[in-house]
């Protein structure tokens, strides 16, 4: 069981590396899809079953497809080469590594001192199905953000349509 | 009680509003409204002069009520012997300048509106007894001044206006800091200048800056002083002055030199002296040195000028040096002389600027020596005798000729300063300024008025009735105060005497 998780994690990170480094945007987007899938698996193992599904539906089914569409619409993009990126990569690379180093240090330190759930509680948490809980939460204590996001989505939709619609 | 000071302050503002409401196509109406709006304060000024109690050092014609409660800011107006000469000078010069500006042709409405606004600001500064109110009026003056120089000025007007504005703003933000500081470090928190002056509130307190603990009162003193010094202007903060004076239209130069410069020294006497007497004593040497530098530096620079107006402008730098020297002497004669010099310089420089303006209106240049080295004027005494005569009076008054007003104040300043054993050497050096003052003014007089007539100007017209009208009151003042200065001196005596007790 842990093997699957490990594989998913490796898949996630490896795909993310491709997303980061592959010169071709098309490949990058396709590998982003794999990353999302890997993350979905991770969610599943973290007891977020609903979320894993949502991840697949929203990200894999929605966002990535949207991106791919956009790439197709602007197909000029096939021409981009790695060479175009390289001369600007040193500083970002240094920065990213620095960020990673800080994250490592910080998280390492944090995990060591953080009061964590007991293994039993973890087990219980993982095994509880979350969909119903989520539904209650969204219409209960988290009603406000839920309502808000509807307005947000309405706005985003109207806005996106206004921008993308041909004259 | 009739709020005479407020009325004097706000009548011009009212006039400004009326002018803004007037139609654009009737400039004469605008002018007459402006005349009325300045004549009324002048008339009230005369009333003030008559009813001013000369025997007391306390504030008179006081108006006081709460304005902004949470900060204990009051609307507090009042005058004492220190302010009244300045108030009188302000109303007089404003009135004369309105008349002297008759020749402004474009943007008449805006010009007069700004001018009246300026008068409100000036009056307010001299009447305000609350630091916040003072600061408000102090800054209010900047705005019309900026526009007056920038719109109706000479060739380099924009540069001059911006320079003036930036310099003064620099000074006033320091003042702002001190104001806020004084408020919070006084007990109880107050902006009331008279309360602040009680009890040496800031002595011995310190404030931290970059880890250094600095004495509060000296810091305040320096902040205020720089703020005021820029206005005076004290060397080395003076470089805005030649620009602003030269580029400004005539009447504005008159106000600048006649009233605005005095605000600096007035401020020092109103704030630095009574509120921070210990720091003032501490800095007296420094002030004295700056005063002497001002005298000499201004004079030397004036001597090198080829532009008539610039020469007069630098002469102001020099003359304001006397005021600083007098103030810093802490003697009765010196301080009285300084305040008198503020008044007298107001009248004599106003004359000079008006006169320069008159000639500029006619020939559209002011070169003593043109940039190409040829003569700008020369020998015009024969074509404009009256003008020459008045110029001579202004000039001699300015260089401190006995019998004219400048002498009395300079003499008092020197007598006073010399009576303080600390400063005798400075006075000896500073006295060189008397000499130089005569040198550059007479040299200018020689090159412009005397000698063979420059044929370019043989058709020059002498002064007309309007110009004469603006100059006569000043002429009379210059001569009368030169012979008998008591009409002004006795206004300030008691107040200054009380002020000086802080330093004995």
């Amino acid at each position: 069981m842990n093997k699957v998780l490990l594989l998913a994690e490796i898949l996630t990170v490896a795909s993310a590396l491709v997303v980061g480094f592959h010169p071709n945007i098309l490949y990058a987007s396709v590998f982003l899809l794999f990353t999302f899938c890997g993350v979905a698996v991770m969610f599943l193992y973290a007891g977020a079953d609903f979320l894993a599904g949502a991840q697949i539906i929203i990200y894999v089914g929605g966002v990535t497809i949207l991106i791919l569409f956009a790439i197709m619409l602007t197909q000029w993009l096939y021409k981009i080469k790695l060479a175009d990126l390289r001369n600007k990569m040193i500083l970002p690379a240094i920065l990213s590594v620095a960020v990673a180093v800080f994250l490592y240090r910080a998280l390492h330190q944090m995990v060591a001192t953080l009061p964590l759930q007991t293994p039993e509680a973890l087990e219980k948490f993982t095994s509880t199905p979350k969909t119903a809980l989520m539904g209650h939460a969204l219409l209960g204590s988290y009603l406000l953000p839920f309502e808000a996001i509807t307005i947000l989505l309405l706005g985003a939709m109207v806005g996106a349509v206004w921008l993308a619609r041909p004259e | 009680m009739f709020p005479i000071l407020s009325v004097m302050t706000y009548i011009p503002l009212l006039g400004m509003i009326v002018i803004l409401a007037l139609p654009r196509n009737n400039p004469n109406l605008v002018r007459w409204v402006a005349v009325v709006a300045t004549a009324l304060p002048l008339a009230l000024g005369v009333y003030l002069y008559m009813h001013f109690d000369r025997t007391t050092a306390s504030m008179q014609f006081v108006e006081q009520f709460d304005w902004i409660k949470p900060f204990n800011i009051q609307y507090y107006m009042g005058i004492d012997g220190l302010s009244i000469p300045m108030v009188l000078l302000t109303v007089l010069l404003s009135f004369l300048c309105i008349i002297a500006s008759w020749g402004i042709e474009n943007g008449v409405k805006g010009y007069y509106a700004m001018f009246l606004f300026l008068e409100t600001g000036m009056m307010g500064v001299f009447c305000a007894l609350d630091f916040f109110l003072f600061f408000l009026f102090w800054e209010i003056m900047l705005l019309p001044m900026y526009f007056l120089i920038g719109i109706w000025g000479g060739k380099e007007k924009v540069y001059a206006a911006i320079k003036f504005f930036l310099y003064t703003l620099f000074g006033s933000v320091l003042m702002l800091l001190v104001m806020v500081g004084m408020y919070y470090y006084s007990e109880p928190h107050t902006f009331n200048l008279l309360q602040l002056a009680q009890g040496h509130q800031f002595v011995g307190k310190t404030i931290a800056l970059f880890g250094y603990s600095l004495p509060l009162d000296k810091l305040f003193w320096i902040g205020l002083f720089i703020g005021f010094a820029i206005k005076v202007p004290v060397w080395p903060f003076h470089t805005w002055l030649p620009w602003a004076h030269v580029e400004a239209p005539t009447a504005v130069s008159v106000i600048l030199a006649g009233v605005l410069l005095k605000m600096g020294t007035y401020g020092i006497l109103r704030m630095n002296y009574p509120i921070l007497p210990e720091a003032t004593l501490w800095a007296s040497n420094f002030m004295m040195i700056l005063g002497v530098i001002n005298i000499l530096y201004g004079a030397f620079c004036a001597m090198a000028q080829k532009d008539l107006k610039k020469l007069v402008a630098y002469s102001s730098v020099s003359h304001m040096g006397y005021v600083i020297v007098g103030m810093a002497s802490f003697t009765t004669a010196g301080v009285n002389g300084a305040v008198l010099q503020m008044f007298n310089h107001g009248t004599s420089t106003a004359m000079l600027f008006l006169l320069v303006g008159i000639i500029y209106d006619r020939v559209h240049h002011r070169w003593i020596v043109k940039p190409d080295g040829s003569k700008g004027f020369g020998g015009i005494a024969s074509v404009v005798p009256v003008y020459t005569g008045v110029m001579a009076i202004a000039l001699f008054a300015s260089l401190g000729l006995p019998g004219l007003s400048g002498f009395i104040s300079e003499a008092l300043v020197f007598l006073g300063a010399f009576s303080n054993p600390k400063f005798q050497t400075y006075v000896v050096i500073g006295s060189l300024g008397i000499l130089l003052g005569a040198a550059y003014l007479l040299w200018m007089f020689m090159r412009v008025f005397l000698g063979p007539l420059n044929e370019e100007h043989k058709d020059l017209k002498d002064m007309n009735w309007r110009e004469t009208f603006t100059l006569i009151p000043l002429c009379v003042l210059v001569i009368v105060l030169g012979v008998y200065p008591m009409p002004v001196l006795n206004l300030m005596g008691s107040t200054l005497a009380k002020l000086l007790t802080l330093f004995s």
Partner: protein
């Protein structure tokens, strides 16, 4: 290997993946000349955050509030992607390119 597997299922593992995604997201955002590529980077960063939330939700609090946040992150990411792609398409229509460096008429 066992050790690795242990690690992968622990909080550390999740956080490590999140951190990697975050760093790579930053790298991607900073290096991609392609406007859509930048968007990819942003998505990575958002996913990193989501992973963290989910992980903390399980290991730290044992509540589902973290998962709720993750859900909202997803929704917002979708909305953002929609708007972003609309903007990019408009950009492409106006300039015939989606090179991010081309968007620099306004500067200094």
């Amino acid at each position: 290997m066992n050790h690795l597997m242990q690690f992968s299922s622990s909080l550390q593992g999740y956080l490590a993946v999140g951190a990697m995604l975050f760093s790579l997201g930053i790298f991607c955002v900073l290096t991609r000349k392609n406007a859509i590529g930048i968007l990819l980077g942003i998505e990575l960063i958002l996913n990193a955050a989501a992973i963290n939330f989910v992980a903390f939700s399980k290991f730290r609090t044992g509540l589902i509030d973290g998962q709720i946040v993750a859900l909202f992150i997803m929704l917002i990411a979708a909305a953002e992607a929609a708007v972003a792609l609309a903007v990019i398409l408009r950009f492409y229509r106006l300039k015939q390119t989606i090179d991010a460096d081309e968007a620099s008429i306004m500067r200094n």
